[in-house]
Amino acid sequence: MTNARTTSRRRPLDLGSLVGTVTLLIFMVAFFLPIAWAVLMSLKTQVDALSMPPKWWFVPTLENYLTVWQDGRFATYARNSVVIAVSATGIGMILGVPAAYALARFRVRGQKAILLGILSTRMMPPVAFVIPFFILFTRLSLRDTPQAVIIMHVSFILGFVIWMMRSYFRDVPRELEEAARVDGCNDYQAFWRVVLPIATPGLATSAIFAFIFSWNEFLYAMVLTTMKAKTLPLGIYNWIAYEEIMWGELTAAAVIAMIPVVIFYFFIQRAFVRGLTMGAVKG
């Protein structure tokens, strides 16, 4: 990973690389500024938040966070989000991991068709995809239940897990399973005792990605829930729609919704590119 850094030789005054660094820094500021701005906003009192020109220096307050936290609705939305994301991830992993292993290691008829099929469902626009579910769940009176949202989320998590884990299982040296078989393991034992433990980092990465896909998902939750099963993104969306003046509290709510995502992602930073491309590019 370090080869790129050693390319240019050190010169007394490398104007080119200085310009490069400065340009890069400007981009970094541009990418970071809106986020930093929102975090600052969430720490401001209403008066400071509304002042123009913007105040960069002020006495921070946690009042907005307290208000948000004490609002009963927020806790409900957060709980729904956690329940849905954990369940959808769990189901996706339980079904997807073994399937990925079978596809990585065994000759399966129609293998290419299965993988392409999964990839093509990724191309289906969510707005079109949600209509059949909407009609079905309405008929079954399952709308506004966590189950409905969980099933919808499984629809994109499962395919992702299969592609991702397949790429990880292929990295596991085949000799390990051969050795396990020599030791008397059958296929299942070799998978359970040898392959799975080695693939733990891949499992963790896939699960975190899946969790965050579900946590961030907006459209399905919007269409399928009305009151009880609302998730955090939807709760925040409604606040935006109806209480636009409460900038401080809104930013606080938005920052809280970002926190788990940011924490989780820093654990899987290294595998990030791999996740973005469903295992196609191994970062």
Binding site: S8, W215, Y237
Partner: protein, 309 residues
């Protein structure tokens, strides 16, 4: 470390080993695949089939009893629907402009990043943020940035003597403003994918180019780009798919407005289905978008020689 293809063919030796090992039928693939396969059929394949069936029906949600098969009438109507062409145009502009900026800017930043000696980890961390944070938060951040009274953007531009701009509140500026948001949010994705590719370029190759007197542009064009191509294509593929599907950020920021100034196919499909409650027409619109995405994806896969297996 790097596999620049989408997956890779089931390694020949692996497959043969798997089969040669024993002649008895092994149950694991069947046992491991069946549950996932059934669920995939139920939650992925069946809805698509159902959407196709619905798209051939006149189905106004409040009157399910009047639901009737109308053949391709919905599709025929779509082609005479100016609002469809309007949203189709917006989708093409949005995808086209975003992807162009993201590829160019992505290459530029990735190359700069690859020449950094220090702080690469930190910069990668900052780059991750826009991609990962909840779309609702992204939309909200940018509402804050675009706000006429509190907007940081207008304030900063006013320091340069520019503006004020109306951003998402003006029909002519709203689409460029949305493009700006996606460029901010997703260019880092391109950067990170390309950066991974740049790490795969052997130092000797670049050094040899320098010795031959190549300028930075020539270095990039004739040495780095060919190595980068598979990465670029994978990035392009996923980026175009996701761009054409974008719903949440546009919906939250403009809802397709002002008027229909930023209505993309995704938004129009949603409006038809869940505001006008015309499920058949909406399904047809959604499937046309699906067809558009699949065609674009196939185009990229062919043209970019992306291997999928």
């Amino acid at each position: 470390m790097i596999e620049s293809r989408i997956g890779s063919p089931l390694a020949g030796s692996t497959a043969r080993n798997g089969r040669d090992r024993s002649t008895r039928r092994r149950s694991l693939p069947f046992v491991f695949l069946t549950p996932a396969f059934l669920v995939l059929l139920a939650v992925n394949a069946a809805p698509i089939v159902y959407a196709v069936v619905t798209s051939l029906q006149d189905y106004y949600l409040p009157f399910p009893a009047k639901r009737a098969f109308v053949g391709v009438e919905n599709y025929a109507n779509i082609f005479g629907d100016p609002r469809f062409w309007n949203s189709f145009k917006h989708t093409l502009i949005y995808v086209g402009v975003c992807i162009t900026i993201q590829v160019v800017l992505g290459c530029f930043i990735a190359v700069l990043l690859s020449q950094q000696k220090r702080g690469v980890g930190f910069i990668r961390g900052v780059l991750l943020l826009p991609i990962i944070i909840t779309p609702i938060a992204v939309a909200f951040l940018w509402r804050l940035m675009f706000s006429p009274s509190l907007g940081l953007l207008n304030y900063l531009l006013s320091l340069l003597g520019l503006g004020p701009f109306e951003w998402i509140y003006s029909p002519s500026q709203a689409l460029p403003a949305l493009i700006l948001v996606d460029v901010w949010q997703r260019t880092p994705e391109m950067v990170l994918i390309l950066f991974t590719g740049l790490l795969a370029i052997p130092d000797e190759l670049v050094e040899a180019g320098k010795v031959d007197g190549a300028n930075p542009w020539q270095l990039f064009w004739s040495i780095k780009l060919p190595v980068l191509k598979p990465f670029l294509m994978v990035g392009l593929l996923f980026r175009v798919i996701d761009l054409a599907k974008v719903f949440d950020v546009i919906y939250i920021l403009t809802g397709g407005g002002p008027g229909v100034a930023t209505e993309t196919l995704s938004i129009y499909t949603y409006t038809t289905g869940f505001t006008f409650l015309r499920m058949g027409y909406s399904s047809a619109l959604g499937l046309l978008l699906f067809a558009l995405i699949v065609s674009l994806a196939l185009l990229i896969i062919r043209w970019g020689e992306v291997k999928i297996d």
